[in-house]
């Protein structure tokens, strides 16, 4: 049993690399797109605000799995052909984006109105108010929930296995398909996910403390 698992380790490592790659792409892409939409939700014109609100509430209201199948099977039907890898990344990114939008909204809303009024009073332009007054403060409120959500991205990436992508989850299943050692391999897989996510949440707690130096 042990020799079989040792033999499978390089294969699991390849899957693990895919898991990390998917997670990284999702985290980075959703951060960029989510912050843009989030700022649009707070400061944009009414039609944009409504569009972002509907997008966010819809995406957050359905299971990731349904969103992933919708994107994967649905896009080709409307003439858009994506590789399964990119369809999966797109679906997970859309899901994470909706969360990032809410973190941004919450962070900006938590900054007292007096801050932007004071900035206006000393004659800062809209852009200056955002970049020098609101965003630096909102950033500290944004960071803790966002970092907590990074582990969700790693966990969510396990769903890409259902689209035939050989991530860690799929690699574990394939090794079990050949060796029939279900229990040891699931536990091994779980421990790998656990190690990554526990490290991430440990780092996030550290970072949170690092940025906690200002409270209202």
């Amino acid at each position: 049993m042990l020799s079989q698992i040792l033999y499978a380790l390089p294969f699991l490592a390849e899957g693990f690399a895919v898991t990390l790659w998917v997670s990284l792409l999702v985290v980075v892409l959703s951060l960029i797109a989510g912050v843009l939409l989030g700022v649009g939700l707070v400061y944009g014109p009414a039609p944009l605000r409504w569009a972002v609100r509907i997008f966010s509430d819809t995406i957050r209201g359905i299971p990731i799995l349904v969103l992933m199948f919708f994107v994967y099977y649905g896009l080709p039907a409307v003439g858009l052909h994506l590789q399964s890898f990119w369809a999966a990344v797109l679906a997970l990114t859309l899901f994470k984006m909706a969360q990032v939008v809410e973190y941004v909204r919450g962070a900006v809303a938590s900054i007292p109105k007096g801050q932007s009024e004071a900035a206006m009073a000393i004659g800062l332009t809209f852009r200056q108010r955002l970049t020098s007054v609101i965003f630096p403060q909102a950033f500290r409120r944004f960071l803790p929930p966002w970092i907590n959500g990074v582990t969700d991205a790693v966990k969510g990436s396990a769903l890409v296995s259902l689209l035939g992508i050989t991530d860690l989850m799929q690699a574990v299943n394939q090794v079990i398909g050949r060796t029939y050692e279900a229990m040891p391999l699931y536990i091994l897989g779980a421990l790998i996910y656990f190690a990554v996510n526990y490290a991430l949440s440990y780092a996030s707690r550290r970072l949170e403390r690092r940025f906690a130096f200002i409270r209202d």
Partner: protein, 221 residues
């Protein structure tokens, strides 16, 4: 291009979606009920226990929270029967998984709820001569439940969405029904539009109903 929406085949097989939705709700309700019991028992035990028990409970919580749900579902359904001699159906297996899963999240919810109960209430209970058990049942738990109600409803709604993972072990819930229609009729866009709408309407209806319950309990304060 040139995809024309045609919902006829969806309506013909709508029983798969409707039955699936009811099963999703059933799975979520049973799982949260068991999860609440697990969460309550462990949270009460945690706050009064010594180091060893605390470490074990914390290990359970951390393990479950840091592992993907889909892996836990596979582990219980395909893994566990290979080491213990037990036969169970896919829905049972999923309910066990989701209960243990939600239990881990609820321990945290209840634990912080218990800590949020004002000290003065417990002292007052002691002052009028309640036993520790009476203080727990009549003072601590009711206040804690009221505090944790919003977190409980959020957990329930996310569990309802998590039931879609049951489709990977062929439990015929809503997502499974959607996939069945997807593979058998190829009305892909239509079936996922309808499924999305069903998840959304149910989810927001639940949210609305639970918020009403919360308001009712807040008023009782």
């Amino acid at each position: 291009m040139g995809y024309t929406l045609n919902f006829n085949l969806i309506w013909r097989h709508f029983d798969k979606l409707w039955g699936g939705l009811l099963l999703s709700l059933e799975l979520a309700v049973i799982s949260i009920a068991i999860g609440i019991v697990i969460g309550l028992v462990l949270a009460v035990w945690y706050v009064s226990a010594g180091r060893v028990v605390r470490t074990i409970i914390a290990a359970y919580v951390e393990f479950i929270r840091n592992v993907p749900l889909i892996l836990l579902v596979y582990l219980v359904f395909y893994g566990v029967p290979t080491v213990i001699d037990l036969a169970y159906s896919a829905p049972t297996s999923f309910v066990v998984t989701l209960s243990v899963y939600s239990g881990a999240y609820l321990v945290e919810v209840f634990r912080s709820g218990l800590e949020a109960v004002p000290r003065g209430q417990l002292d007052a209970g002691k002052a009028i001569g309640l036993t520790p058990w009476q203080r727990l049942v009549h003072v601590r738990l009711p206040t804690m439940l009221r505090i944790t109600l919003p977190a409980l409803s959020n957990t329930f709604i996310s569990l309802f969405k998590d039931t879609s993972i049951a489709s990977v072990i062929s439990v015929p819930e809503l997502t499974y029904g959607a996939q069945w229609i997807n593979f058998n009729t190829f009305r892909i866009v239509e079936v996922y539009l309808v499924t999305t709408a069903m998840y959304l309407v149910t989810g927001y209806a639940l949210l609305f109903a639970l918020r009403l319950v919360e308001r009712r309990f807040r008023a009782a304060r």
